[in-house]
Amino acid sequence: MQDRDFELLSAYVDGELEPAAAAALTSRLAQEPALSARLAELQTLHSELQDAATSDDGTPVPARIRELLQPRPGRIRSLPHRLARFQGNLRQGLAIAASLTAVAGLLLASQWQNGLEGAADDVLLAAALETLPSRAAGWDTLDDGRRLRAVLSFPNKEGSWCREYILADEDSAIRGVACRDSSNWTTRIAVPQALLPGGDEEAYRPASASDSGDFARFIDQHVAGDVAGAESEAGLIAGSWQ
């Protein structure tokens, strides 16, 4: 078969032939069995390609990637890639991250683990997560002076809702995820945050690469759907997250 005929058949499968050319080819197909047989093969191949494309595992786009595009300056930046294939890029990225952290000179890790252990009893935090909407920037101030930014809300695989947040006091900050168990919010993971250089108080990133990886893995393992939009989240707050 000539290359030109094969190109015509290929474009015909894609619906890209001009009407006159398509009509001419249709006429030939009725008279040329070899041409018709080749078209059938191309159509089968086309179907297989589309089947292959739709045979993914049906999992949603990872939350860590969706989050990158959320319109807020305080999003997590440069989460590590999972595969060793990308280790070269990752190593470079982590070197930059380490450098940024050193330059910032503000490692905000103090006692965050103690904070996590007591998170279930953090009544002020729980009350705020129950009632405050997520925000792209700025802070809500808790009664004890700590600053809270609810970042986003997402459903987890246990059938309840979780909220990512940043909680900061004068000299430390954590990024955490709390999930609603019965009527209480319990922090499931919290990692220390470092301020990015430049004096922008809105821009935090995980203080270390391992923290970043732990946080990303936690979200990947627990997220069960799309992040709630503003309207949806307002409805959840009004309905006590039911």
Partner: protein
């Protein structure tokens, strides 16, 4: 270059599923696809996007470039296997591919053998449903080039499936 506007972010968020499918067709695995997708989004965020750019075409273009960069870097690694031993078990050998029972796996293996420019054109049109004109805009080549690349890609896939006796 300006950072992303809210509308550009919304467009990209809505397009993430399709972009991920595109990534998967290019990379051949779900895990690699997510890494490629993340790399694409990070590049877009880092470098920004012109205010008047078509966000979808721009994103596909960035994704294409990221994938090609990855192919180049993989090519470098394969020249120095002693430094990158972890890379050796990525691609199945021809013998392993021939032994696969599932047609889709065979097809993926065949796709992986296509030259990158043919694979990109075929994936955009046959998998993503882009028109020839849209694919041409994304890949920055004439429409006629898209047409011939897709035809050559299909010819290669049929040849791969049917063996060396195919005309």
């Amino acid at each position: 270059m300006p950072s992303l506007s809210t509308s550009q972010r919304e467009i990209l968020l809505a397009e993430l599923g399709s972009l991920r499918r595109f990534c998967r067709s290019l990379s051949g695995s779900a895990a690699d696809a997510d890494d490629l997708l993340q790399m694409t989004v990070e590049r877009i965020l880092e470098k920004g996007m012109p205010a008047d750019a078509d966000a979808v075409k721009w994103a596909y273009r960035v994704c294409k470039n990221a994938w090609i960069d990855e192919l180049r870097s993989r090519d470098v690694r394969q020249r120095y296997p002693q430094l990158m031993a972890w890379d050796n078990d990525e691609a199945p050998s021809a013998e392993e591919s021939a032994g696969h029972e599932r047609a889709l796996e065979t097809l993926s293996a065949a796709l992986a053998k296509l030259p990158p420019e043919q694979r990109l054109a075929l994936t955009l049109v046959a998998v993503e449903g882009k028109s020839y004109a849209e694919a041409a805009a994304i890949l920055e080549v004439p429409v006629g080039t898209i047409m011939s690349r897709i035809a050559r890609a299909r010819a290669q896939l049929l040849k791969y499936r049917e063996g060396p006796g195919w005309d």
